[in-house]
């Protein structure tokens, strides 16, 4: 891809992912670093055959369920009656603060003694780490590796109901813990109605061979149902005391970084601590705490530019509801006025291309069937503190095929979302 100051030329042959995995050596070269793969790409051979048939439209619907859940948490906690439909109640109360849905990226960690490798979805938008556990008393879905069996580990122990650790589940899961034979029971339900429930326990977790943490608190799931696509569970990277970020703070000082790969056929990394050195080109913006959602990582967006032109968006548009960064949400959601300005500018600069029907939540789509290269306006975000982030060309468009490629942004339905 050639890049000018205001536009990006994309060779469409590179738009569709390769069926062959091309791993990066980046993770292997860094301390305390795990390889990140996309759960629907060739770098993750999962145990769920159905996952490969999930359509982009379904992925976007799952993504919207996740976003609805995040919004309903903020509406609920701020005392504002949200107009978001709550997920149907099944066996657990809906936890609208923890949402997995479309979370896409997977890392492999070791659990137990002896260590068993497990592929977990990593998610900065939730807190509790859990995995499926034998004997799967009620339900387990198919996963890539053998399901973890605590009976085969010498370092596993359950948490008792009377422990203060048990009551810490409430903030991490949104649900009060249960108690069975004096053993603490967790339950969590996600925005797409996926669930996990089971024993709240301690176990040794091995991030790498030199990063081993005994007594790590996690959920050992005996009832697991949902859209996890072969992953063994979830790695919660939120800000709650129960997240892996907080539980490993003594070593990593609540510092971690990641790079999500440019396609589902390449790999990235998740690195705890400074990994031997944070890039000198990193620009930092202050982390804001949103009172209604203290587990989330808050950001302050200050502006957006398209094709080198700053969009005419009043600052209040961004400050009304604030913003978060989330590794589990696929498509960036913007306040309605900000999205409207972005869409207008993008459409103007893309007017020479034939349009295509909308794709689920994406309403600005094009038919590039007759093109080998296209020129797309560069999109940049400004954050508080003068941080300017140019969105990579892989983050501008999202599509099913060359006949339906869409602007990869969407608007919230309300300015207060």
């Amino acid at each position: 891809e050639a890049k000018s100051e205001t536009s990006v030329t994309i060779h469409l042959s590179s738009f569709l992912p390769s069926p062959v995995c091309s791993p990066s050596s980046h993770a292997a070269g860094r301390k305390s670093s795990l390889e990140v793969v996309h759960k629907r790409g060739p770098c993750f051979r999962n145990g769920d055959e159905k996952s490969s048939s999930v359509s982009h439209s379904e992925i976007l619907q799952q993504d919207q369920a996740r976003v609805d859940s995040i919004h309903s948490k903020f509406a609920k906690n701020s005392g504002i009656a949200g107009d978001v439909k709550q997920p149907d109640a099944a066996e657990l109360p809906a936890n609208d603060g923890s949402v997995v849905g479309s979370a896409n990226y997977i890392v492999q960690v070791g659990l137990g003694t002896p260590k068993k490798e497990l592929s977990l979805v990593f998610d900065t938008g939730s807190d509790l780490t859990w995995t499926q556990c034998e004997p799967c008393v009620k339900a387990c879905y198919k996963q890539k590796e053998p399901i973890f069996d605590p009976r085969l580990s010498t370092s596993y122990s359950n948490i008792s109901c009377s422990s203060t650790l048990c009551s810490s589940l409430s903030s991490a899961t949104g649900n009060s813990p249960g108690c069975e034979s004096s053993t603490c029971i967790y339950g969590i339900k996600y925005g797409d109605s996926s669930i996990s429930a089971g024993f709240f326990a301690k176990e040794t977790i091995s991030l790498t061979s030199s990063d081993v943490f005994p007594g790590f608190l996690f959920g050992c799931g005996e009832n697991n149902q949902g859209l996890f696509s072969g992953a063994a569970g979830l790695l919660g990277l939120g800000r709650d005391p129960i997240s892996i970020v907080s539980q490993t703070a003594s070593k990593f000082n609540k510092l971690f970084s990641y790079c999500l790969p440019s396609s589902s056929s390449s790999t990235g990394h998740l690195t705890f601590g400074n990994g031997g050195g944070i890039s000198k080109s990193v620009q930092f913006t202050p982390l804001s705490t949103i009172s209604q959602g203290t587990s989330f990582y808050g950001l302050d967006i200050t502006g957006i530019s398209v094709g080198g032109q700053t969009l005419p968006i009043q600052s209040s548009v961004f400050t009304t509801a604030g913003a978060i960064i989330d590794s589990g949400t696929v498509i960036t959601r913007l306040p309605p006025d900000a999205y409207s300005a972005l869409r207008t500018a993008f459409r103007q600069q893309m007017s020479k291309y034939p349009t295509a029907p909308a794709l689920s939540i994406l309403d600005t789509c094009y038919d590039f069937s007759n093109y080998t290269t296209i020129s797309v306006p560069e999109i940049s975000f400004s954050f508080k503190g003068g941080v300017l982030v140019n969105i990579d060309e892989t983050g501008l468009l999202y599509g099913t095929s060359l006949s339906q490629v869409c602007l990869a942004f969407a608007g919230n339905s309300e300015a207060s979302d």
């Binding site: 990394h269 967006i301 960036t332």
Partner: protein, 31 residues
């Protein structure tokens, strides 16, 4: 809230420094 999603985070180095109260971005984080 607005949400900065994972499609737009691709290839960036995203640094979470919770104790330092900051989030950082750098280009070409995977290469």
């Amino acid at each position: 809230v607005a949400i900065f999603g994972n499609v737009q985070q691709q290839t960036l180095e995203v640094v979470y420094d919770a104790n330092g109260g900051r989030v950082g971005f750098a280009p070409n984080g995977c290469s």
